[in-house]
Symmetry: C2
Subunit: 152 residues, 2 copies
Amino acid sequence: MNQPSPLNLDLQICRSLYSAANALIRAYRPLLEPLDLTYPQYLVMMALWEHDAVSVKTICDRTRLETGTVTPLLKRLEGKDLILRERSQEDERQRVIRLTRQGRDLKSRAERVPMEMACMELLTPKQGLELQRLSEALYRNAVARTDDKGTA
Amino acid sequence: MNQPSPLNLDLQICRSLYSAANALIRAYRPLLEPLDLTYPQYLVMMALWEHDAVSVKTICDRTRLETGTVTPLLKRLEGKDLILRERSQEDERQRVIRLTRQGRDLKSRAERVPMEMACMELLTPKQGLELQRLSEALYRNAVARTDDKGTA
DNA sequence: TAAAATATTATTGTGTGCAATTATATCGTG
DNA sequence: CACGATATAATTGCACACAATAATATTTTA
């Protein structure tokens, strides 16, 4: 029997996951374009719609993005008048990231995005839940290996 | 009953998938560093180890990366003396991407990477296969929606 | 209390990912 | 055969993703 090499591309889970994630982000693009948001920006906005006036660190935790990514991203959102970046009075190292009125108002338009994504039927609801469960397990284990960064 | 919002971050499959993919790439990093390769570069090298002397398009298809990503990446691999980028004689639009001796020799060192990744036990083998199956389904469906780019 | 350790955000530098576009070559059609 | 359509790789411009580092503030320790 011919044993496939461990380096065989079709055996690489990471390629599957990575390309699927990128493809999924691409699928979001036309839906987010009318909102003038990229996918990571959409993530950040969702975090703020859930809980406004939070620190950069909180946003990083909720979105699972790193500060090196989030800091310039927040600057761009501020440039679009969707958020304000203020200094915290309790702790001057911190920023308080606050939605503007436009930022808050955008939520109602954004509510269509998950619906429209579901309409694409990229996966069945069951498959989606299973994919999420496995992805979460992987994320948790990978993060646990590097440090104790237990995040939501 | 309080119905969670469709914009609830914890319900976003895409966040799970995206963060898991990024975390997995990060897990590869220390293993690929001694080889002086990034993960996408590793993908390209794997494609060439499987089948040497191919076009850029073939590499894009096998790695599922776009030419805008692959072209500069190949230039950097050439800069590391791992590949040669030649013009095809049959069709002058095309490049033939060829492994150098160093490029070929690197394969044996790279064969440890999948083993070492498995040792991390980020998922069970069963979970891994299931994750791959679902990711593949998602990738296929997402790609099919944009065009008929049926790829391996 | 002073100094060391840690936390927060920001920056720097590099490599990606991708939409739109370009230059050139090849293919298809009338 | 000439021309229009398409393909290939490359480029441009923008937004990420992240490791390493830096500036400043806060917490911890002795």
